[in-house]
């Protein structure tokens, strides 16, 4: 039998029992669209996480003290040293605390970051309006503040509040700038923070009284000259800090490379994506069993037809091929419809708001192609057994079947 004749025969047989064909299709459609939408959700969250970390800057190292140890402001400034640490471009130490910001009748408890002017370039912030903290602000511990975009909106609405005042612990702070929103609303986003000069944070908000250079910092963000110098910068910093702290054994600080963090996180999310894929794959497997079930019923029902075909000269292979074609056709068509549905669902839920988290989907066409191949393979796999049963029927028995 020619390929075309086989195809047309399969199509005719399937269209003869439309409801049954549709039910078999439905399983595959659900399976494939589940694979595609779940994978696109997985890949979307992966992209979101990666983007968010990359927002912090990929040339970024973060140094923090070991528990019960101290890194000082002086340590931070010492890292700007063209001889010992030539790979370091800029350094931004920070202190983090929290406080209540009061503007008129509005109050907001937020995270307050004490930082230095370099943070603007190190953390790649952009200003929505006004200016960032400058050197004189830090040397004189001035009472100035830069608001994250969300904080500004919470306190002042849409109005540009640069030049206005807010109060923290009954002290008046001048708003000198507002940061552009960075997107991403997860914990720790700069949109929900307020920034003051690091000295202001230490002396005025925390209220401590240490000599200037010995201000303890919580972390030091270091920007390397470029991405390839990350390892080198890390080594240089380690050597310098060990010298400064006169350390002979264990480091009293930890250097965190953000690219390493990205890698680790990507590995983790990859695992989640694969896990989602497996769950969706199981539904595809169930759909395959559905096809097998329907094909087995079909073989029994069409025993007489098989007998007639054999009497007319159909060989075992002809019958085998006819039934396999039917199941592959079912799963292939189901796969195509499933891809259309899956992509539709992914686009529909893209940007959907889940509490304070935006759902993001990334449609991957490699996954769509894979799902189509897998569903066709499932049709082939689960169609073979019923087809073998059909082809093995003896013509006389098949013709006599009532």
């Amino acid at each position: 039998m020619t390929l075309w004749a086989t195809f047309m025969t399969a199509l005719n047989s399937l269209s003869a029992n439309r409801l049954r064909a549709f039910l078999a299709l439905l399983g595959i459609i659900i399976g494939v669209s589940a694979v595609i939408s779940l994978m696109s959700i997985g890949r979307g969250s992966q992209a979101t996480i990666t983007d968010r970390i990359q927002n912090l800057g990929t040339n970024l190292l973060s140094i923090s003290p070991q528990p019960d140890e101290v890194l000082t402001l002086e340590d931070a400034f010492s890292l700007i040293d063209p001889i010992h640490t030539p790979s370091v471009k800029a350094v931004a130490p920070q202190i983090s605390t929290s406080g209540t910001l009061i503007a008129g009748k509005e109050r907001r408890r937020t995270q307050i970051i004490g930082t230095t002017p370099e943070a603007l370039s190190v953390r790649s912030f952009t200003m929505k309006s006004g200016t960032f903290i400058s050197v004189p602000h830090v040397t004189d511990s001035q009472e100035v503040i830069v608001l994250g975009s969300q904080v500004a909106t919470d306190l002042f609405g849409d109005r540009d509040s640069v030049g206005e005042y807010i109060r923290i612990n009954s002290k008046r702070y001048t708003i000198i700038g507002i940061l552009a929103p960075e997107g991403g609303t997860s914990f720790g986003s700069v949109d929900r923070q307020a920034m003051v000069p690091i000295t202001t944070a230490y002396y005025r908000i925390l209220g401590d009284k240490t000599v200037h250079g010995e201000i303890p910092v919580q972390s030091i963000n270091v920007e390397a000259h470029n991405h390839t110098l990350m390892e080198k910068a890390s080594e240089e910093i380690q050597v310098l800090l060990r010298l400064r702290h006169k350390i002979s054994d264990e480091d009293d600080f930890v250097i965190l490379n953000l690219s390493d963090v990205i890698e680790t996180l990507e590995e983790t999310t990859q695992t989640i994506v694969i896990f989602l894929g497996i769950i969706a794959g199981i539904s595809l497997l169930v759909a395959g069993i559905g096809i097998m079930n329907i094909m087995l019923v079909s073989v029994t029902e069409r025993t007489r037809e098989i007998g007639i075909r054999k009497a007319m000269g159909a060989t075992k292979q002809d019958i085998l091929f006819q039934f396999v074609t039917e199941s592959v056709l079912l799963s292939f068509v189901g796969g195509i419809i499933g891809i259309v549905f899956g992509i539709g669902i992914s686009q529909l839920i893209n940007g959907m708001n889940l509490g304070n988290q935006m759902l993001r989907t990334v449609i991957s066409y490699d996954i769509a192609l894979l799902a189509l191949l897998v569903s066709s393979a499932i049709g082939l796999f689960f169609g073979i057994y019923p087809a073998i049963r059909a082809s093995a029927l003896h013509p006389i028995d098949a013709l006599r079947y009532e």
């Binding site: 020619t2 007998g307 075909r309 009497a311 007319m312 000269g313 159909a314 060989t315 075992k316 006389i396």
Partner: protein
């Protein structure tokens, strides 16, 4: 030996003619068929031998259980012998594998069944076309329309079996049997499900095919009213041939 001609035979046309006439299209040699039902062996055919010549129209008669269905299955290459040989046009069918048997059924045997055995969801045209799809046939359209016109169903080509009368369905069955231009037409109770008028029409078509085109026809039946239209009656009982009578066939009148 049949089918093998010596040089001197070719040089003597009179002997050649005799040789061709005597050349049997079917030769059954000591054929035995045994079925195994669990531990019990049932002998359905016991050492049966006969020959059928090209152009004969014969009927095989016998009550149910006599072995005539088994004989028909073997003649139609649907089943193989347990012992003995079956030659169809000189080919030893009893030694063939499944796929070769399928090819023989496709090329040499035209089946007509009591219950028509048409594909219920296909049109008359598609049913007649079916045997052609299982071989690399050319001119499919011409062959199908020729076969349909031979049974007078040209105007019913695109009707499904459910839209046709019993007699018309059986005519589709005959057209399907003819479309591959077979060596033998094997009809199993072809009028068994029909009223006498439709039955007569079917018998007339079959008899005309035999008389006009020289097609070899074998009809399996238990009705003497059908057997009288054939020029030879083989009677089977308990797996053996009990009589083999030649007669002057009556002409079907409608």
């Amino acid at each position: 030996m049949a089918g093998h001609l010596a040089v001197e035979d070719v040089l003597r046309p009179d002997r050649l003619r005799i040789e061709l006439l005597d050349n049997p299209i079917i030769k059954i040699e000591d054929v035995t068929k045994i079925y195994k039902l669990g531990n019990i062996e049932v002998v359905a055919l016991n050492n049966v031998s006969f020959t059928i010549n090209r152009g004969e129209i014969i009927s095989i008669m016998g009550p149910s259980g006599s072995g005539k269905s088994t004989l028909m299955n073997i003649l139609g290459c649907l089943d193989i012998t347990s012992a003995g040989n079956y030659y169809l046009e000189g080919l030893n069918v009893s030694a063939m594998k499944d796929n070769q048997l399928a090819e023989i059924r496709n090329k040499k045997v035209g089946f007509v069944f009591q219950t028509y055995n048409l594909l219920p969801r296909s049109t008359a045209w598609s049913n007649v076309e079916l045997p052609l799809l299982y071989s690399n046939a050319s001119n499919i359209k011409l062959k199908v329309s020729t076969a349909l016109s031979q049974v007078g169903l040209t105007d019913r080509a695109h009707h499904k079996p459910t839209e046709l009368s019993g007699g018309q369905q059986q005519r589709v069955g005959i057209a399907r049997a003819l479309v591959k231009n077979p060596s033998i037409l094997l009809a199993d109770e072809p009028t068994g499900n029909l009223d006498s008028e439709s039955g007569n029409e079917i018998m007339k078509i079959i008899q005309n095919l035999n008389r006009e085109t020289g097609l070899t026809v074998i009809i399996v039946t238990h009705e003497t009213s059908i057997a009288k239209y054939t020029d030879r009656i083989i009677s089977v009982l308990d797996g053996s041939i009990v009589s083999d009578i030649r007669q002057k066939a009556a002409t079907v009148t409608t």
